[in-house]
């Protein structure tokens, strides 16, 4: 469930655009106004506001925000104001660049979005950066990591719920054999995880658990030292328990000395309209502190305000 709060009576996009334009004007920027509008509109409403802003003021709202804001607050506002495919394309692009390389973000985007959402992010990626996500991932990775990540971002997975139990049984056996041999980058193992539907992978992993008495991630735990195995675990976590995957990203971002604002902003902006309520629940359960309180302790100012607004605080 989403944490985003949209008011019962949403102002017309024209009114929102006008208020935003006023917020930029004059001496200083009215950050509170920006938050009170953008952090309480859904993706469709935000894109209407951008369209009306462009038509009425002949300016790109995103460029205005870029000009007026700065730091972590700017990054949060920008990421949030994007449409989901633009945001994913942007995050994926960062993740394939030399200094912002992040294989985990690629796994996250490839495995927690639906097939159509991933496709749509890849189309936006091409339109915007004039390259494909596939070629950038292939170029910037190597070895086993490329062997896993490339098909992961390439496949247009079947999204249906049907499950073939015979197949699940036989592929669970393959996975078990390969993992016992510590052949974590085996062709078949990668084929199963990168091409089967999420429902089918779920069935295979359930069979694994039923037949071998432990979940596959527990088998992998012993070897969790190297990046490849950790990515493999992240893939499985994203498929089976996305809310726990995101809880962990948030926990690590918040507990890190100095806070990892990129991770924090990314999870809050990408999940506020999707499943943030569930992630909050997991966060409380795993940390015995509500997520909003943990964020309020670690952040401040406008940046804190927008994160809390996206978590469901404040008037809507």
């Amino acid at each position: 469930m989403a944490s985003l709060k949209v008011p019962a009576n949403v102002p017309l996009p024209e009114e929102d655009a006008e208020q935003l334009q006023k917020a930029f004007k004059g001496w200083g920027t009215n950050e509170g106004m920006i938050i009170s509008i953008l952090a309480h509109r859904n993706a469709t409403q935000r894109s209407f506001i951008r369209a009306v802003y462009a038509a009425n003021y002949d300016k790109d709202l995103l460029k205005e925000l870029d000009k007026e804001l700065s730091g972590d607050f700017e990054r949060a506002v920008m990421l949030w104001t994007f449409t989901p495919p633009e945001r994913d394309a942007y995050l994926a692009k960062e993740s394939t660049k030399m200094f912002t390389k992040d294989n985990w973000v690629l796994v996250e985007i490839a495995c927690t979005r639906s097939a159509l959402e991933l496709l749509s992010a890849k189309q936006t990626y091409q339109a915007r950066y004039k390259t494909s996500l596939e070629e950038d991932v292939a170029y910037h990775t190597s070895g086993d990591i490329r062997k896993l990540l490339l098909p992961l971002v390439s496949t247009f997975r079947y999204d249906g719920n049907e499950v073939n139990m015979t197949l699940a049984r036989s592929e669970a056996k393959i996975l078990h054999k390969k993992i016992e041999e510590k052949a974590y980058a085996d062709d078949d193992l990668i084929r199963i995880l990168t091409t089967r539907s999420k429902a089918q992978i779920g069935a295979t992993l359930n069979h694994f658990n039923n037949s071998f008495g432990t979940s596959i991630t527990k088998f992998l735990k012993e070897d969790s030292g190297n990046e490849y195995v950790q990515l493999l675990k992240a893939v499985i976590k994203c498929f089976t328990y996305p809310e726990k995957y995101f809880e962990k990203v948030l926990r690590q971002a918040i507990n890190k000395l100095g806070t990892d604002e990129w991770g924090l902003t990314r999870v809050v902006t990408t999940r506020a309209e999707v499943d943030m309520e569930r992630i909050k629940e997991e966060y409380l359960r795993r940390n015995s502190v509500p997520l909003d309180r943990a964020i309020a302790k670690d952040t401040h100012g406008d940046y804190e305000d927008i994160l809390l607004a996206l978590l469901g605080h404040g008037h809507a």
Copy 2:
């Protein structure tokens, strides 16, 4: 979230009582009518119907149901028609009797209900059976199992959300030490699990996980052979992941040769008004088959119909 579906316009209790009275009359019983009424009314509405039935027809609705119905269907209708405290008292009583002894059910009732719900079940128990739950548990158990179960059903736990992190840290250390020594029935270990608030136990177990790199249940897994350790694991599971605990009870009930109807009926009737939607979600995730389909495959007739109605099927 509850799976129970109540119609937008609920008939008056007088009308429901009249329909039920008609369903009992004449040649044969109208089971469909009983389901269509009782399985779509919440606890308050059901008790109004019982009160009106007693007033208008001078008969106890529960006794009428007992007379008219039989088998698994009867048990499901009876358990469902009870108020939650009556139902818990009834289940607890069964669990302390010689031939229906079930320590797991006692753990389930003691650990997944709020302090007030447990108290209320114990008051009903006393009013109904003229003994206390505590004396019956004490009398019918012994050794380590009594050492764990008796305080578990006795304590009126604090239900607040506040958490003492210093205490969590020190008690996590105690738990770790005792578990490493395999002193699973240690006084301190039992004291912590049977007297601390659920929020505080959650914090302690989170600290355990953070400090020792694995959850406490994984430590216990190796020794899962004996009943005491299994009960200890059930206690922890009920506190931390009740929806997974109930998923497992359902999975085992359904997968059992011949189906364990008692377990199935118990979980469906006790959780339909509480968190059955979450349990259904976990069931699908863990079994790759929706719970309603698994139940439909394993049961039939009126029994199947009432279970599915309580899971949210049918007109409401």
